[in-house]
Amino acid sequence: MTDVSLAELCIFACSQAFRNNGEIIATGVGPVPRVAAGLAKLTHTPELMMTDGEAYLVEQPVPLGPRRYEDRKPAGYLPFSRFFDAAVWTGRRHAMVTPTQIDRFGQINLSQLGGTHRQPKTQMLGVRGFPGNTIYHPNSFFFPSHTPRVFVAGEVDMVSGVGYNPAKRVPGGNYSAVDLRTIVTNLCVMDFGGPDHAIRVVSLHPGVRFAEVQEATGFELIDAVAGETPLPDAEALTIIARLDPHNIRASVIKDNPPAQRQAEGSAA
């Protein structure tokens, strides 16, 4: 299957993060995580719950991109007006998101880069729901561009989501629900399974070497590579195409490369 794209491989890898999660809200923010959550529901984990991206719970994942307003088929209701009561603060959710930065503790940043809080060099979205998500329910991450600007040395510029940094933990606080699970990038799959939740590389995408991942990361990684990240099977590819009929996934990773790299030295 030489025509499988790297984005499709990432979707397949991301979908594994939701395997056997039970009756919780699977939220994928961005095209790859969102299709991944839908793929998980339509294959190995049908008990997952998810929204149409607005306010309704759907049992048939809503495809990406332009479609008719009526095309969603609500089976339940979960608006923002009760999202914290129902999904976040009860821990019944697993979100996969793309922060701007992440550090060796799994601390994430979506708020600002550089400068001061009063005058940031670059203002981004704000912390959104990251502080609540990370203290209350499982979280995973997808990064389409694995670089030291994303996987930063030291700590993130503004800690928007809780990680495993002992220095940030106020004594007496309850951190028992902090549960960072999977990181999928354009190079590899990682988890937090090292000593003190250190980040480990657990699989490399076809043709990627560990040293290359380490070079693209601002902190030291643990090599726990058990093999190559599996390619999606035919069923998965069919479902991915159905959930992304306009091929938005082709725009996620720069130049939309194939999952199987060209051998080094050969013509691209």
């Binding site: 149409d52 991206g53 607005e54 306010a55 309704y56 809503v62 332009p66 479609r67 307003y69 608006p79 923002f80 007006s81 914290f84 976040v88 603060w89 708020s111 600002q112 400068g115 001061t116 809080h117 009063r118 005058q119 940031p120 060099k121 670059t122 203002q123 981004m124 979205l125 704000g126 912390v127 959104r128 729901g129 990251f130 502080p131 609540g132 990370t134 203290i135 209350y136 503004m158 800690v159 928007s160 989501g161 809780v162 990680g163 940094n165 940030k168 933990r169 106020v170 004594p171 007496g172 606080g173 309850n174 951190y175 902090v178």
Partner: protein
């Protein structure tokens, strides 16, 4: 005696606000925003506001016009245009004070204010930079668990602005659409709440009694009402109309070129609401905007 006839003009409403007030604005990002009332503020001399909002272009415009002294926020976004460019400019110029909060903490603070409590305890914010940056203090559970929690201070509002689908002159409102976000809690957290509505009727029970469940907050919390059809434009107001992404895009582009609010203020605020809407095709064009797909 309470005035039961709460009809006002938009200018009356803004006339009841004053410099330095803490003002809550309902809606969420580019959805259900009382934009016509925000434009009325932009036509006034009001200044030094503390704005409390799940922010969209309301926050961007008020920042651009120099009306904001302090912003209480969890995000400012136009959804399809993720980063609100006029808000970014204000932040990167160091122009405003901020209290940055998690989305859930934010509504928790509105609820504390609604219930007259100094704070409500929460686990949210622990392990992040929010507490230190925002000066948020902790409390310890007096029970056996002894847990240390963040004391989310009440977000008391001097006034709140909402845009709803219907109201009568007594302030019996109805709000539709898939999600009404935290509008109810803005109203309960505020000393006074002023609503604009798509449709003003005389007596709700004579017109839409079968939809009374859409009365998301009781009229005791509503101090003034005004009819402004299309008053959420360019934000969405389901089921009446969707957001105007073309208008948002023009607004966002203007932050780069010319990048000067004074030069584009006429277009995005207008001398009057009629004048403003005419620039975007009038009420008919607004009513025809398709509902957004997520």
């Amino acid at each position: 005696m309470t005035m039961l006839d709460k009809r006002m003009t938009p200018a009356d409403i803004v006339g009841r606000l004053s410099d330095g007030m803490t003002l809550g604005i309902g809606g969420w990002g580019p959805r259900r925003k009382p934009m016509a009332l925000v434009r009325e503020i932009l036509r006034s001399d009001l200044k030094d506001l503390t704005v409390v909002a799940y922010g969209g272009a309301d926050v961007g415009m008020l920042c651009a016009a120099g009306k904001v002294k302090k912003l209480v926020f969890a995000f400012v976004s136009l959804d399809a245009i993720p980063l609100e460019p006029w808000f970014r400019k204000a932040r990167e110029a160091g122009q405003i004070e901020v209290l940055e909060l998690d989305e859930g903490m934010f509504q928790w603070g509105l609820k504390a204010a609604a219930f007259g409590l100094p704070f409500l305890p929460t686990r949210v914010g622990q392990g992040t930079d929010l507490a230190e940056l925002g000066g948020l203090k902790t409390v310890q559970s007096p029970y056996d668990d002894g847990e240390t929690l963040i004391a989310m201070p009440a977000l008391k509002l001097d006034a709140a602005l909402l845009h709803v689908n219907r109201s009568d002159w007594r302030g019996n409102i109805q709000a539709f659409g898939p999600d009404v976000y935290y509008d109810e809690w803005f109203a309960r957290a505020a000393a006074k709440t002023y609503v604009s509505c798509e449709e003003l009727v005389d007596r709700m029970e004579d017109h839409y009694p079968e939809q009374a469940q859409a009365n998301i907050v009781e009229r005791a919390f509503i101090s003034g009402v005004t009819e402004i059809t299309g008053g959420a434009h360019p934000s969405s107001m389901p089921p009446a109309y969707g957001w105007d992404m073309k208008a948002f895009k023009a607004y966002a582009d203007a932050a780069k070129d010319p990048g000067d609010w004074a030069a584009v203020r006429d277009r995005f605020v207008g001398a009057s609401e009629e004048d403003y809407l005419a620039g975007f095709g009038g009420k008919e064009a607004v009513a025809a905007l398709p509902l957004p797909i997520f």
